[in-house]
Each structure stands twice: as C-alpha cells, then as structure tokens.
C-alpha cells in the first residue's frame, strides 16, 4: 500500500486556513499539527475537499459528535467529491430517528460475552501467523502479522473463507484511501464487494446458519426483514469498519512497544496492566477519524460553521488534548482516568469496540509471549496509511 501514498498535492502553507489530511506531513506525524492548531485555531478550515472544518479540541469534537441535528452522518468521509445521493451504510451513515433501529440490529452480536466466544480462534490466528516468521528473526509486522488478524477474525464471524482476506484488504484500501480522490475506484470496489456478498446473502437466505451474515438476514425491523440493499450495506460496513481500523491499532501499539523498551519490559513484568495499556494505546494512537456534513449553520466552541461544509471529526486529535488528558503527549500504561474517544462519542459509538479490544489484547499478549524482545529495524522505514484510518503499513522489526 506504500506505493500509493506518494501522490503529489499542493503544499500546505497555513494549516489553519488550508489544512490537508492527505499531506505527507500529516500522514507521517500529525500530532504537532494538531497541537499547534489546538492552541491557535481550535476549529480550522480548508477550501480543499469542497470546504471542510477541522476541530482539534476534545470539547469541539464532542460537541459535534453529540449534535446530530446540525451535523449529519450522511457522509462520513471527507473526500474530493460529494456524489448524490450518498451511499447508505446504516447505521454509520444514519441520523436519528433511523439510526437507532439499524444500530440495534448490529449490537447484540458484538457484546463482550459474544466476543469471548471468539477469543480461542483469535489466539490461534495470532500464533499461526507468528509461526510463519518467528524463525527468521525479523519481520514486517504490519504486513505479516497485524494486517491479517482482524480480517481473519471477521471472516470467521461472517463464515466466509479466511483466505479471501487479501481481497477484502484490497477493497478497503480502494474505498478508504484511493477513494478519497478517485470516485471510480471507490464505486468499483463497492460494486465488487456487493457482488461477492450477494452470493452469500442469497444462499443464507435459503439456508441460514449461525454466522453474522445469517443473523443480519434473519433480523427483523418492525417485524419485516431488511431490504436486500441494506443487508449488503451492513455487511460492507462491518468489513470496512472492522479491518484496517484494528490492524492500525495493533500495529501502532507494537510500534510503540518496539521503540519504547521500558514500556515493553513493564508490560511483560506486569501483565495485569494490559487493560489500561490497551486503553492508553487507543487514546494515544487512535486510528479512526470520522466526518460529518454541516447541514445547518451553527457555532462550535465560538467558531461559526456553515452548512454545506464537511467536518473532519478527529477523535485522534481530541485524544491528545491536554485540557482533557494530563500529559496528553505521553503514553502512560497505567493511566487511571481515560475517557478517550477512540471509538467515537455519542450515538455512533463503534459497534465493534469490544471486538477491537479483544483483538488488540490477544494480538499483543500472544506477540509478547512469543517475541518478548524486538525493536525497529533501522534498515527499513516505518510507513503509515493516509486518510481516514491511521496506522503503520510497514513495520520492520528485528527480534532479540
């Protein structure tokens, strides 16, 4: 995926009036950009992307996430085009009152108790992956480990072949990264994905199983099954939302542990810190940035915002706000008070948050059990994805 991250774009001269989340500086290290904006211009604007705002304080991000009247979820990605009508993927693209019934269909399969059933398979997947490279003494952890874990777990949940994972990853790359600037690539990927799952939907409508696709088909809203387009939309959403997000979160966590031996040793010596450590990795390296469309003129934290603009809703920037998190720029494995927004705030809280936490915990625990000593390989660069989901896409490690 690194080959696509070098497209040239007009340089940003002033981040408060011309920000660009596809700029190379943002991709490689966005935190100084956000810190400066938070101090000088907490709701920045750009004319790029047909006009969009960028809030960087926790208070502004929270206010927008809670204000579903003025900020619609009908578009959840800041892109260079805004085709009409936006493609619905309920519930992420739904506003009240349509949001709640759609979300309630998806919530029961993702409760903590349901996630516990996946834990043995998730641990086995991690160990199968580690088996393939541990003897080499080195690996690209993003390509050989982190990218395969969420995709195989979700394939397991959907009961489709885990070996189709590379195809899923390619579609998601086309939708979430290339699709920001190229609508044709996005539409093609969505179409291919829909065709792929239409076959499963047809087969399981006739003969349902216990998998997630069957559960969505069998779900009833006001006593009626969902229209076929909504069934496909939900399945697409589960795949898009559940793969490179957690891939990124696991990768960023391992990247931190590779470059911070003291934290790595502490986590091995005090495994009971794992739950707070996972929350802290989620706060400090939150992978997911969402978006809203301003549908009525309003004011956020004293800044007027105009209808027709998009908002880049940066939960990662909110999580670095020192007004909300003391020592916001430091990773503190046993942080006691941590109301981070990595999974969003308000009604659009990530449906898969319990799954993401399970996958992160299992992936880091199994890695540390098998490879307790590892560091960045100085011979190769670490590269990061761009756009809506941020995480390492090349993560060269040396063991021992």
């Amino acid at each position: 995926m690194a080959e696509d991250t070098t497209r040239t774009r007009p340089s940003v001269l002033d981040w408060s009036t011309d920000w660009d989340h596809l700029a190379a500086e943002w991709r490689d290290n966005p935190y100084p950009i956000w810190d400066e904006l938070r101090a000088t211009c907490p709701v920045a604007h750009t004319k790029r992307y047909l006009g969009a705002y960028l809030p960087t304080t926790y208070a502004a991000v929270k206010a927008i996430a809670y204000d579903t009247k003025n900020f619609s979820s009908r578009r959840v990605v800041v892109r260079e085009v805004r085709p009409e009508p936006p493609m619905p993927s309920p519930p992420i693209s739904s506003d009240p009152p349509h949001h709640k019934p759609a979300k309630q269909l998806l919530l029961p399969p993702f409760t903590p108790d349901e996630m516990k059933k996946l834990e043995p398979r998730a641990r086995a997947i991690c160990n199968e992956l580690i088996d393939r490279f541990i003897a080499d003494g080195r690996c690209d952890a993003a390509q050989m480990y982190t990218r395969h874990i969420p995709v195989r777990v979700i394939a397991h949940m959907l009961d489709v072949p885990e070996s189709d994972g590379d195809q899923f990853i390619q579609w998601i790359h086309e939708i979430l990264e290339l699709g920001i600037t190229d609508d044709d690539i996005l539409m093609k990927a969505v179409h291919e994905m829909s065709m792929y799952f239409a076959g499963y939907v047809e087969a399981r409508t006739k003969k349902p199983g216990h998998d997630l696709i069957s559960r969505i088909i069998m779900a009833r809203q006001d006593g009626k099954p969902l229209p076929p387009q909504e069934v496909l939309g939900m399945i697409r959403l589960l795949l898009i939302a559940g793969i490179d997000t957690t891939w990124s979160a696991i990768g960023a966590s391992l990247w931190h542990l590779a470059k911070t031996p003291a934290d790595r040793q502490r986590l091995i010596a005090e495994p009971e810190l794992m739950p707070t450590a996972i929350e802290e990795f989620l706060r400090a390296y939150a992978p997911v940035t969402m978006a809203r469309e301003v549908v009525q003129d309003t004011v956020i934290e004293g800044c007027p915002v105009k209808a027709g603009n998009m908002v880049l809703l940066s939960f990662p920037a909110a999580n670095r706000d020192p007004a909300m998190f003391p020592d916001a720029d430091k990773v503190i494995l046993d942080r006691q008070e941590n109301r981070h927004s990595a999974f969003g705030l308000g009604i659009h809280r990530c449906v898969g948050s319990n799954l993401a936490r399970l996958e992160m915990t299992v992936a880091i625990e199994e890695w540390l059990k098998r490879i307790p000593d590892f560091r960045l390989d100085p011979a190769f660069p670490v590269t990061w994805s761009e756009g809506t989901v941020r995480g390492p896409r090349q993560l060269p490690f040396i063991f021992g």
Partner: protein
Amino acid sequence: MAGGKVVRVRVDPDKCQGHNRCKALAPALFELDEYGNSKEIGDGIVPEGQLEAAYLARANCPEMAVEIIEE
C-alpha cells in the same frame, strides 16, 4: 456502605452508549442488556471494597454516564 456513608452508582440511560468501560472495571456493580448498554446492578449500593472500582468506572466512562451518589 463505605466509610459510614451509603454510596450508590447509577448509569444515566440517556447518556450510556454501551462503551462497556464500567462493566470491565467494576463487573460487580454493573450489568449489560442485550445491546451492551449498562445499568447498575440492583439498587446500585457500592459494597465495602468496591469503592475504588466505582470511581474507576466513573473516571473511564467516555459519555460521563456513570454517576456516584453519596448519601
């Protein structure tokens, strides 16, 4: 009872979005419904030894939905 006072926890159902942080940090005090939304168990009274867990639950709720009431 804790320190002579009655301390209760309560989840504001209008604020809870099912992040499950309270359930993870204080499983003896909270229960989840089929959608993963949280509610205090019973009358929410925090037994001796659960006070720290109750405060942690409050300190980690992203929606500020966990209340602690001291009577």
